[in-house]
Amino acid sequence: MTSITASPSPTRARRRRGRRLAVALRTLAVVVLILLTSIPTAWIVLTGFKTEAEYLSSPPVWVPQRPTLANYEEMWSDGGAKAFANSLTVTLGGTLIAVAGGVLAAYSLSRFQTGGAGLANWILSVRFLPPIAFAIPLALMLQALGLVDTHLGLILVYGAFNLPFVIWTMKGFFDEVPTQIDESALIDGCTSMGALVRVVLPLAAAGLVSTTLLTFIFIWSEFLFALVLSQSALFTIPVRLSQYYSEAVGLRWGPQAALATLAMLPMIAMALLGQAFLVRAMSYGALKE
């Protein structure tokens, strides 16, 4: 598996003296693009440090003159800490279930074609179904089980709805590990599980890491289920962010931006760290590099 950087350079016919210019121009274009598309993100980060007079000023102020941590303090004590804790719990739990269950299932689908194309396709199709269609019956179901507004309820839902992504992506990664490897492990005395854990998984480790990271990011950002399946105790960060739109508090953009920054930056950092295998993982194994 190769990362984006290691791809062979395109082999269009190029005259050598135009080449360095082309490279420079292309770099410039890309950098400009990145700068432009980073403006909204930068704005949110900066707004977190502005005073109210600054973020509610007309015309808008870009860089805070007197950066302050007041927004972070307000946000943290006014539900931010709890939202963070809830998000962390629910995301870790959901990711754990999705990845653990998904890896096992993916191995089974890859090596044994369990359930044939029918099962595999059905699992993939779940990924595209609209959450609102499930929100209603799940709300009733969780209520019957007493799991509304509990971490467990949301963890189970998140685990379930992220299984398809994990299964399909890991299946793709597993498919690339030749079965001879499994067979030699079996001959050496491993069980199937042993073969999976000791031999195949390490070879697909990079894929596992990126799949786990992406699953984490998906669950962390999820809104609809968190909104509908919680009442008062269980608000995640996205839900808390949506509460900033309120008649009472008005335009508290500062704390809202502070919470958003706190939520965004770890995700971005993780994505940058795991960038090597984003391509494969994000296109659902539909395309390989």
């Binding site: 099962l119 396709n121 009733l140 009442q231 509460q243 309120s246």
Partner: protein, 499 residues
């Protein structure tokens, strides 16, 4: 289509799922039956307290609740302050704990309904819009309180009519304790109105004295006069964002002599009065900031306190809030008066939208004994606690009790407060009510969508907008049962007229 489901898989699981489906799908909720309450400890109680608050404390003490008992009060984030300011006092007086939960204003109803559906008793007491009582009664969420209002006497008569009798009741029983004297006030920039130069200019242009308007025509004239975009000043500012614009519509409709329903629950909103009211409402946008279409309570208040509007019709809370805002440029410059009206048969017929405001109800699924929860509610609406809430300048609990209207401290709380309180009472006196019937929220939302579409130009014709809304109303009425609705509506409107 490819076989997306493995055939045998579906088969073998089908029966299991069928069983599950049958088991957990919708058993009807239990009807609103009052549970038997253990009153043995309070049955013999002789009450000596002179105020509702003291009696409530006595009752709570007699119930001998464990020391760590905690009551949870829920409301949207502005109204919840009336409970927040009383948390310490509650601890001091009863030794028990009061805590609050909140949600944004537009999520208020959703959260309550969620609690109703889940029957989890997450909230013990809820401060909600009284007009929702019909729906919540049907959802089995409310607890009848009449037994305890007789026993402990929350002194409802001290509350200004119609809150005292009409809006605490539904279907013949007391279901909620009113918490605030909701109405609207016309706020105006006294400094501008009393400025001699402005008065001269106004007289020269319109040939009349510049004074707080008594009719909508005068209002429009004054608004036009003060609309000076180059100075960033507009004649008025008012709620126009999609949400509850319908209240401002009903105010005008009522002034023209219109109402909600006719005989047999036929909608009465799409007649000529309705069309005129809606068109005039939109025409007023011309004298307001162009951004007003995305403004709600907070934004219009901010525009007024920034000095960008000469007039504002909104809740009494604004009167307090505008004094409290650190950046308010209009402290001491505000006048308060009644909402104007249309001329009907040559006489001004002013009507102020007087929504039933908020009430405290006891969740029928509360984990505490209902009597205890009731006592907390009575305590919260007793004069001492309400006064604390009323005097909180950043809250939105409006004065409700006559005793507090007359209280010197209250009348002195900010410059102009006495005038403000009198204006509030006068507006309540000329009030037009909201009916408490099932489906109320649905009716209003159906109307709001059409009003919003008309305001933003999605629909060109006010008649069309109101006809759409009326059609929606007919569907809703049929859903809930035309006769039942007619009965509840008529009995409500009658009881309002009588008080």
């Amino acid at each position: 289509m490819e076989a997306v489901y493995s055939r045998s898989l579906a088969r073998s699981v089908g029966s299991l799922l069928l069983v599950l489906t049958v088991i957990s799908c919708g058993a009807p909720p239990s009807a609103n039956t009052p549970a038997a309450q253990p009153t043995s400890s309070t049955a013999q109680l002789q009450l000596t307290g002179k105020t509702p608050g003291e009696r409530a404390v006595e009752g709570l003490k007699a119930l001998n609740l464990p020391a760590d008992t905690t009551f949870t009060v829920f409301s949207e984030d502005l109204t919840i302050k009336m409970a927040d300011v009383n948390i310490d006092a509650f601890k001091q007086e009863t030794g028990l704990t009061l805590r609050t939960e909140t949600a944004p204003f537009l999520e208020h109803r959703t959260k309550i309904m969620q609690d109703a559906i889940n029957k989890s008793g997450t909230y013990d007491l809820v401060i909600l819009q009284t007009s929702w009582m019909g729906d919540l009664y049907n959802a089995g969420y409310l607890t009848p309180l009449t037994e305890w209002t007789s026993k402990y006497d929350p002194d409802l008569d001290d509350m200004i009519a119609p809150f005292s009798q009409v809006w605490s009741r539904y279907a013949g029983e007391v279901y909620g304790l009113p918490t605030d004297g909701d109405t609207w006030i016309l706020y105006y920039r006294k400094d501008l109105f009393e400025d001699p130069k402005e008065q001269e200019a106004y007289k020269a242009t319109y040939g009349a004295e510049l004074a707080p308007p008594k009719t909508w025509d005068e209002f429009n004239q004054i608004a036009e006069f003060f609309t000076r975009p180059e100075q960033n000043l507009y004649g008025a500012t008012e709620w126009r964002v999609k949400g509850v614009t319908y209240w401002w519509f009903f105010q005008r409709l009522a002034s023209l002599g219109g109402t909600y329903f006719k005989e047999g629950m036929q909608p009465a909103i799409n007649g000529p009065e309705g069309v005129q009211a809606l068109e005039d409402l939109k025409a007023m946008n011309g004298h307001m900031s162009p951004d007003v279409l995305s403004w709600g309570y907070v934004e219009t208040l901010k525009a007024f306190t920034e000095g960008q509007a000469a007039m504002l019709i909104t809740w009494p809370a604004a009167g307090k809030n505008m004094v409290d805002a650190e950046q308010s440029k209009v402290v001491g410059k505000v006048g308060f008066t009644t909402v104007p009206g249309y001329l009907v048969a040559g006489q001004p017929n002013p009507k102020t939208m007087t929504v039933p405001g908020y009430s405290l109800v006891v969740n029928s699924n509360t984990k505490h004994t209902k009597e205890a929860a009731y006592l907390v509610a009575q305590w919260l609406v007793s004069p001492e606690q309400l006064k604390r809430a009323n005097m909180n300048l950043s809250g939105n609990t409006d004065v409700l009790r006559e005793s507090i209207f007359a209280d010197p401290q209250m009348r002195d709380i900010f410059p102009g407060a006495a005038e403000y309180l009198d204006a509030q009472k006068a507006n309540i006196a000329q009030g037009f009510p909201e009916p408490i019937i099932p489906g109320y929220d649905e009716y209003m939302q159906a109307l709001e969508i059409e009003i919003s579409r008309f305001m933003t130009g999605e629909l060109d014709s006010a008649q069309e907008a109101l006809d759409n809304a009326a059609a929606g109303w007919e569907q809703i009425t049929d859903k809930y049962g035309r006769d039942k609705q007619a009965e509840l509506y008529t009995s409500f409107m009658d009881s309002y007229q009588q008080q």
